[in-house]
């Protein structure tokens, strides 16, 4: 049982939760994730870690209401408990001083990107960050990103804030302007696919952090398998980050929908 000590509604659908987890706060590194379970009938769901406070013994997770489990988590209030929380899981991001790094985040993918941006900056890189959302209301962590980046570009689909356009447009502008040594992308699968196609064109090494379906998160179930360079990998123990140019994004996107009908049924059951 882990107590929720802070909660902030970023938007109707996106919630920031700070939860007590002293060991995870100490052990986590950029790129790691946790598995969360809410309620005795709850599902185990993977969520990325957006930050940690070792002194307070807390970690920050940012959740988007998608199905039953994420909605239940978002409905918890300060003082209430998450039934189970385990981590940190997955391999951490390999952060080195490579020169200029382009960090691209979309939607709630901006949350796990934050510790990575911090990490790259700390390692002495020039960090240019592009964050994107459908509209101004859905944009998260702008101030934090600005603080840790040498430059921040904000893109919105509808032009309600920052510049109008997709994340890739902001990226291409940077790539054309200066030499980029490495790129990392986290966000919806379709966004990562197009980021990857873009950087492939410019031959910039790129990592993508995947959010596959998982049950245990420790290598046991194999639900999170993904094809990378023609081989089957497990996102939980081999990832969650892989060479974006080698990921079969189409397969990955279809696998994310592997339980769609069943999840909709659960949602109907939950709402009625």
């Amino acid at each position: 049982m882990n107590k929720i000590v802070e909660k902030e509604n970023f938007s109707e659908k996106v919630v920031k939760i700070v939860v007590e987890a002293p060991l995870i706060a100490k052990a986590r590194k950029p790129g790691n994730f946790v598995i969360v379970r809410v309620g005795e009938k709850g599902e185990r769901i993977p969520l990325t870690i957006a930050g940690a406070d070792i002194a307070k013994g807390t970690i920050t997770i940012i959740v988007q209401k998608m199905g039953v489990s994420s909605t239940k988590l978002c409905q918890l209030e300060v003082g209430e408990y998450v039934t189970d929380l385990v981590g940190p899981l997955g391999k951490p991001t390999e952060i080195h001083n490579v020169g200029t790094v382009l960090c691209c985040g979309g939607g709630v993918g901006v949350a796990p990107l934050l510790p990575i941006v911090e990490g790259y900056k700390k390692a002495g890189n020039r960090v240019i960050t592009v964050i994107a959302a459908r509209s101004k209301e859905l944009l998260i962590l702008e101030d934090e990103m600005r603080k840790h980046s040498d430059e921040l570009i904000v893109m919105t689909d509808d032009g309600s804030y920052g510049r109008k356009g997709l994340v890739t447009e902001g990226m291409e502008e940077v790539i054309k302007r200066e030499k980029v040594d490495e790129c990392i992308t986290i966000g919806p699968a379709i966004m990562m696919k197009f980021c990857s196609l873009l950087t492939k064109k410019y031959e910039i090494p790129t990592m993508a952090s995947l959010n596959s379906i998982m049950v245990d998160g420790t290598g046991m179930c194999g639900a999170c398998r993904v094809t990378v360079d023609g081989k089957t990998k497990f996102t939980c123990v081999d990832g969650p980050e892989f060479d974006a140019h080698k990921i079969d994004f189409d397969e990955m996107m279809s696998r994310l929908g592997g339980y769609k009908e069943e999840e909709n049924d659960k949602m109907d059951h939950f709402q009625n």
């Binding site: 290598g219 046991m220 592997g258």
Partner: protein, 500 residues
């Protein structure tokens, strides 16, 4: 704890045993027919994942079966038991009607008697070494059924004994993984007076006993009682803790842990790497069984979804494959089919499981192997292309090697496929502990019979060492490790010389 041969022989000479031996003539003992386990009717039991197939023996049945046991001078059955249960002693206690005493005999050496009585392959262990089988060519004493009876009787009586514990020595040891191996180890170390903490990655204690083996074979409530028993012996349990990730082995050393037992089990499920295998609807038996057994996905109240299908195919021939296919039947599959590349004779599953599966209407397509999965426009599997096989010369496993028959391909309709072709060891511990010697298969290397790894204070056993075996072999490893870790710790920290 470990009983010497002499001790066991002397016990046999106790007054009550001698009286029992005289009470019934050997000829009359042999004339008793082996008891049949009562089973739930197949058409009833397939309606629920949580109805146990084997009902258990009545006290009368158990006492009658116990008279069959000859109380041999040289009980070879015990040699067949990986945890060296004093089999004649517990059976003779049943014969005289002292069932609670029988249960406490089981607990002298086994941390999980109610579990073993249900899932051990007794037919190839203790029962195979029974006097009736070795000398008379008759069905063995039903040791497994009797073990289950004694453990169940004690549990249902509510009068649960706690094994005798040595005085606390204050030495902290950590167990990594709460499956059968870790629990068995924990029980023995607690008896020896150690301060034992078990770390479990999942949110439930029990490992494969909870996430793997279905409730129709092993109810979770039975596992929980055995775990509670360990708690009463002073064993501490911490869930949601992944040693190597949540904290390192070195962190635990700083907290005062002097030695470690790694029983982290088999992790990664194997796939066959054939075209279309990552289509939706195709999953590992680990995933399928975990969703149902651990997460309760067969119930509408559970938030965890499960895939149901009219036609479900399970690939493999082991106990896990049987568990999966019988689960599919219980989830409402009209056709639940085993596809196995060798013949029924080579199936690694217990004969009892295959028999139960057939009673439940499971179809068996043996000498058949999947070669490709065909998906619909939504990437969901709809058909499996299979190939017929024939058996050639025996391979390294001693079983006849299956050889594909050219031109024999055909397709089977299925919207759910469960792949149960084995597992590889979990990489988390081998990857996170520096200096730990690991085989090319990813298993932890240990000194045989000592279970000590290349790091002296780290012992290991069960599937992380064996790659994949049975509950009882994993428990046997836990016992061996406890015995040897005790020697190591006594000499290092307690300045006691121990007889090796």
């Amino acid at each position: 704890m470990e009983r010497s041969e002499e001790y066991i022989k002397n016990e046999r000479k106790q007054e009550w045993r001698v009286e029992l031996q005289k009470l019934t003539k050997a000829k009359d003992r042999m004339a008793v027919e082996r008891v049949e386990m009562t089973e739930m009717a197949p058409e009833e039991r397939i309606k629920s994942q949580r109805v146990e197939v084997n009902v258990g023996l009545t006290k009368e049945e158990a006492m009658r079966e116990a008279t069959r046991c000859m109380d041999c001078v040289n009980p070879t059955c015990m040699e067949g038991c990986p945890v060296s249960i004093n089999i004649p002693k517990f059976i003779k206690n049943i014969e005289r009607g002292n069932i609670l005493e029988a249960a406490s005999v089981l607990k002298e050496t086994s941390a999980l008697p109610a579990v073993c009585g249900r899932v051990c392959p007794q037919e190839v262990q203790c029962e195979q070494r029974c006097f009736y089988v070795e000398k008379l060519n008759l069905p063995s004493v039903a040791i497994g059924h009797l073990e289950r009876f004694a453990a169940d009787f004690e549990r249902e009586s509510g009068v649960i004994s706690v094994p005798e514990l040595a005085e606390s020595n204050g030495v902290k040891v950590a167990v990594i993984g709460s499956g059968p191996s870790g629990l068995s180890f924990a029980g023995d170390m607690a008896k020896l007076g150690y301060d034992v903490t078990v770390f479990e990655a999942l949110h439930e204690i029990g490992g494969v006993l909870k996430y793997g083996i279905p409730e129709f074979r092993l109810p979770n409530a039975v596992v929980d009682v055995e775990i509670e028993n360990l708690r009463r012996m002073g064993v501490k349990f911490i869930t949601n803790y992944i040693v190597g990730q949540t904290a390192s082995l070195d962190d635990l050393k700083e907290e005062g842990y002097k030695a470690f037992y790694v029983g982290s089990g088999a992790g990664l499920p194997r796939f066959m790497n054939i075209p279309g295998e990552n289509s939706n609807g195709i999953m590992s038996s680990n995933e399928y069984l975990t969703r149902v057994n651990l997460m309760g996905a067969d119930s509408e109240e559970s938030d965890t979804p499960i895939l149901r299908g009219k036609n479900v195919v399970v690939v493999g021939g082991g106990n896990t494959a049987m568990d999966s296919v019988r689960t599919a039947k219980r989830l409402g599959a009209e056709r639940a089919i085993i596809v196995y590349r060798r013949s029924e004779e080579e199936m690694p599953a217990r004969v009892e499981e295959v028999h139960h599966a057939k009673q439940e209407g499971i179809e068996f397509l043996t000498l058949t192997n999947p070669i490709e999965y065909i998906a619909d426009e939504n990437s969901r599997v709809k058909q499996i292309k299979v190939q017929k096989m024939e058996l050639g010369e025996p391979d390294a496993s001693g079983r006849r090697r299956p050889i594909p028959m050219e031109g024999s391909e055909y397709t089977i309709d299925a919207t759910v496929v469960v792949v149960a072709v084995g597992v590889s060891p979990n990489p988390l511990i081998p990857n996170s502990v520096e200096g730990l010697e690991v085989s090319k298969w990813g298993t932890i290397e240990v000194v045989k019979d000592k279970m000590q790894s290349s790091i002296p204070e780290v012992f290991a056993g069960g599937d992380i060492v064996r790659g994949g075996a049975t509950v009882i072999l994993a428990m046997g490893d836990g016992r061996k490790a406890a015995k040897n870790m005790n020697i190591y710790l006594q000499e290092k920290y307690l300045s006691n010389k121990v007889e090796h």
